[in-house]
């Protein structure tokens, strides 16, 4: 099954999750997601998601100058974002266990 379709619905959750501990700039977030196993995640999708979460007030941003090349805009999760992350995690867990249950029945 094409995981990119699945990813669309949970990319918010994944991005919030990788920003939970450390702030990160766009490409940083892409790398963390890939390092976490989401190999199919598209660069542009991550950048778009960051913009959406930012515009929804779940992330704040700040700029860090870079000696060579353009500066980097770091995103960090705020309280609203953390609340959303906690809430989404519960939703995901119950959804996943529901689906697991369904799949168990199929396998049985």
């Amino acid at each position: 099954m094409d995981t990119s379709q699945l990813l669309k619905g949970v990319l918010d959750l994944a991005v919030l999750a990788v920003l939970r501990k450390d702030d990160g700039y766009g490409y940083d977030v892409v790398r963390r997601l890939r390092a976490g196993g989401l190999n199919e995640v598209g660069d542009a999708s991550v950048y778009g998601t960051l913009r959406r979460l930012y515009n929804a007030g779940m992330l704040t941003s700040y700029v860090v100058p870079s000696e060579e090349g353009p500066h980097r805009k770091y995103y960090s999760i705020n309280e609203t974002g953390r609340a959303r992350l906690a809430e989404s995690r519960e939703t995901w867990r119950s959804f996943a266990s529901t689906l697991d249950g369904l799949l168990e029945e199929v396998a049985a």
Partner: protein, 370 residues
């Protein structure tokens, strides 16, 4: 490397075109992310790899980003070439910056005499920056103005050409210039310190902030609204310091060859009282009690047999006017030759007849016995 840099610019231009229906400040925010992304990614590319192979076309990238960000789909497809670049606000802001920098350069040259002239460019700077301050640190709209693009193209000549090497070299001097600029501004502030406390504080503040403004402008172009005029002010101050120094050098040079003006020579002095009456037998002394002696031109009387000169104090005025006639020396009443520019305020200015008759030194022959 340069073709890759070109590829990055091209890719970003495509991105901007594909996003240009979105609100400008949102586009600015997106492009801030994407510029860093594409720049970093381009350093990871293999020798034959292109950005497109990694990210897809700029249009695909933009489309995927739009979907993920929840922006509406591209409404109309505008070819990049026909895109109208009117954008009054960014353009006004850019030209405001250019104008303010120019005025600061001129005003800077006069700022030590009248620091208040700097208020004019300061107002323009504040107004023009206010127009675009909300457009983000990259000021992408201004960078996309045709005039900016041309300037940028002009400032980035082909690699390897002397012009390119010169510009690269000048760029390497930038941090040094920031320090020199702060130094010049500091000097200007010090020169003002004794005369204009407000001007001193303003220029000193500019000097301090300018140290940070240089590097900051590299990452946030809004700092250019400070950094460029600060440079212009520093150059203007430099001109002024050079001007003043050159003026002083010129003054010194002219003084070294300066010879005191030739004292006007006079050989007689006529003193008049308040009624315009010629005073005679006036003895003149200087502050040291030394007699004031006008040069004597009695040589014409040194004819053989005329004997010694009349024995009168050399500082007694008017001196007898000596006339040489028929082989004899005569003293002539001074009134005859009294200066025509004698006190004109008095109606009784020395008239030749009056003073001549009243003068005790009426024509007499210079007698040796006297």
């Amino acid at each position: 490397m340069n073709t890759q840099a070109l590829g990055v610019e091209h890719y970003l231009a495509g991105m901007r075109a594909a996003l240009d229906d979105l609100p400008p400040n949102e586009v600015a925010e997106i492009m801030e992310d994407v510029e860093a992304h594409v720049a970093e990614l381009s350093t990871e590319l293999g020798p034959e790899e292109t950005i497109e192979q990694r990210l897809g076309s700029p249009e695909q990238y933009a489309q995927e980003l739009r979907q993920a960000a929840g922006y509406p789909s591209r409404t109309e497809r505008l070819p990049v070439t026909t895109k109208k670049q009117v954008l009054p606000r960014p353009r006004a802001a850019a030209w405001g910056l250019v104008g303010a920098t120019g005025i600061t350069l001129l005003a800077g040259a006069a700022s030590l005499r009248e620091p208040a002239v700097l208020l004019l460019p300061a107002v323009i700077i504040v107004l023009s920056l206010a127009l675009v301050h909300d457009r983000g640190p990259t000021q992408q709209e201004i960078m996309n103005l045709p005039e900016t693009v041309r300037l940028k193209a002009w400032l980035t000549p082909e690699a390897g050409t002397p012009a390119e090497r010169a510009i690269t070299y000048l760029k390497s001097l930038q941090p040094a210039w920031w320090l020199v600029r702060a130094g010049l501004l500091g000097l200007g502030a010090v020169l003002l310190a004794g005369r204009d406390i407000l001007g001193f504080l303003a220029i000193a503040a500019i000097a301090v902030v300018s140290v940070f403004a240089g590097p900051r402008a590299k990452v946030d172009r809004r700092w250019l609204w400070f950094s460029l005029p600060a440079s212009a002010l520093a150059v203007g101050l430099l001109f002024q310091v050079i001007d003043v120094t050159a003026g002083q050098l010129g003054y010194n040079a002219s003084r070294s060859s300066y010879s005191p003006p030739v004292m006007e020579t006079y050989d007689n002095i006529y003193a008049y009282d308040e009624n315009g009456k010629l005073l005679t037998n006036v003895l003149l002394y200087d502050q040291n009690g030394q007699p004031i002696n006008a040069p004597r031109n009695y040589n014409s009387c040194d004819e053989p047999g005329s004997g010694p000169e009349p024995v009168i104090p050399a500082n007694r005025y008017p001196r007898p006017q000596i006339d040489y006639e028929n082989g004899r020396c005569y003293t002539v009443a001074p009134s005859v030759t009294a200066p025509s520019s004698s006190p004109s305020t008095t109606s009784s200015a020395p008239s030749s007849s009056g003073s001549a008759t009243s003068s005790p030194v009426s024509p007499t022959s210079v007698s040796p016995s006297k």
